[in-house]
Assembly symmetry: C2
Homo-oligomer: 258 residues x 2
């Protein structure tokens, strides 16, 4: 639960962080507003530079604040974007928008995205996930998603050219079908289940850049997703989210009788 008992600590930086956290929660610092600078904290609390930094680092790590070099530390948006598995994987997707755009709209944001497809050779990891041999030809599509213009999700998708090569859907952006399931249907590949593996880990330098994350201490949620036709994988994808900005929902049916 989020019952944040303010257990008193004997550490100065924790005390300062707790005061600032309280001020944020009371609304003294609305979302997007600037928090006291390190120099302000040094003066107001009579501490050294590192202690002021440590206090702000606590808030940054909690996802409450974002530091930007040269600009200051501001209170971040705490609303999480909800990504729901239900209705996401359907044979008859919406013709007018993507699941991501709907998720963004639910969070009150405008969703945009861009993608780029290239032909590549399967890395050992991609080959394993697609039951191919290393070096087999695949299409690799890189997506970047924006919420209100800020990068908020990146993903990379791989499909075996042995399946899609020469068809109308060789490139995801071609053809009229939206979504892996509908696209695969048009070439007779009937996807019957999707597996998503969720992990959390520290953001890589590359992800820090692409997702505009704080340079230190950022973590991401990663979904490793694979579409299957029976036991045969037909697409696999890595989806990366800022860890403090997303909520992933799964609705799991329970069979009615034993």
């Amino acid at each position: 639960m989020t019952d944040s008992q303010d257990a008193p600590t004997s550490h100065r930086y924790e005390e300062i962080a707790a005061e600032l956290r309280g001020a944020i929660e009371r609304g003294d610092f609305p979302e997007g507003s600037r928090l006291p600078s390190e120099n302000d904290i040094i003066r107001d609390y009579d501490v050294a530079r590192n202690t002021a930094r440590d206090a702000l680092a606590v808030l940054r790590h909690e996802g409450l604040a974002i530091a930007r070099q040269g600009s200051g530390t501001v209170v971040s948006t705490r609303k999480r974007i909800k990504r729901n598995s239900q209705g996401r994987y359907s044979r008859t997707p919406s013709k007018v928008n993507s699941p991501f755009e709907r998720d963004a709209a639910t969070a009150g944001q405008r969703g945009d995205w861009e993608c780029e497809t290239v032909k590549a050779k399967a890395s050992p990891e991609v080959a394993r996930r697609l039951s191919l041999d290393t070096g087999d030809p695949v299409t690799q599509t890189t997506y970047r998603f924006f919420g209100d213009g800020r990068p908020i999700q990146v993903s990379q998708s791989w499909e075996p050219l042995a399946i899609t090569g020469g068809t109308l859907i060789e490139r995801p952006e071609d053809g009229s079908a939206i979504g892996v399931i509908a696209r695969m249907d048009t070439i007779g590949q009937a996807v019957d289940h999707v597996v998503e593996k969720v992990t959390a880990r520290a953001a890589s330098r590359e992800e820090v850049k692409r997702l505009d994350l704080p340079t230190r201490g950022a973590y991401v949620l990663v979904i490793e997703r694979t579409h299957f036709v029976g036991d045969a994988p037909v697409e696999t994808c890595d989806i990366v989210f800022p860890g403090d900005r997303y909520e992933l929902t799964y609705d799991i049916p329970v069979e009615l009788k034993a």
Copy 2:
């Protein structure tokens, strides 16, 4: 993917971290072995204390190392415990072990757990999730799970006493049925779906203590789970995992025809 391109940085602490990371990946420091101490790094690389600390902090945050006050910084176990939704929510669970014990066994660990049940009044958050009023009576059960003796998962579960009160399954540890679905079946409550909401966030001080996490920069995976009978929630639960130690798998069926 995990293709960690060692992009050169001009920062001393990143260089040191990269060297240590490389040494770990080469196997120079096997899992559980001690990394160079801060004093070692100060001497070997001729840097100040904070720079040595920053280098180790990078590895800690990546989940590669764990610092223990008074003891040293050791290479952590990289293997994630896999928690699979499939087969987890079933009417006919195993009689001999719990899903958690099987997950631990799959990771080559011995799983133990303990729990404690008390009667409580629903907090606003619990009331919302169970469609109750704040203050309504509930049973609250606190679980703690251990892998090879070390705490590895904590959870808290709430059930409305209006449903379970006076029955044989009022307390989860009573009766012979294992698991929420089988228990609810014995009192005629047929669970038909389970919703899991997955988030990542910074670990609270309480969780740092209960999960034996590093004191700074730890993050956790949280599942907010609710069992439903139709639209009626009959149990809700918060499950907290160390963020770098778990992998959550969801198998999502796709309906066969439009």
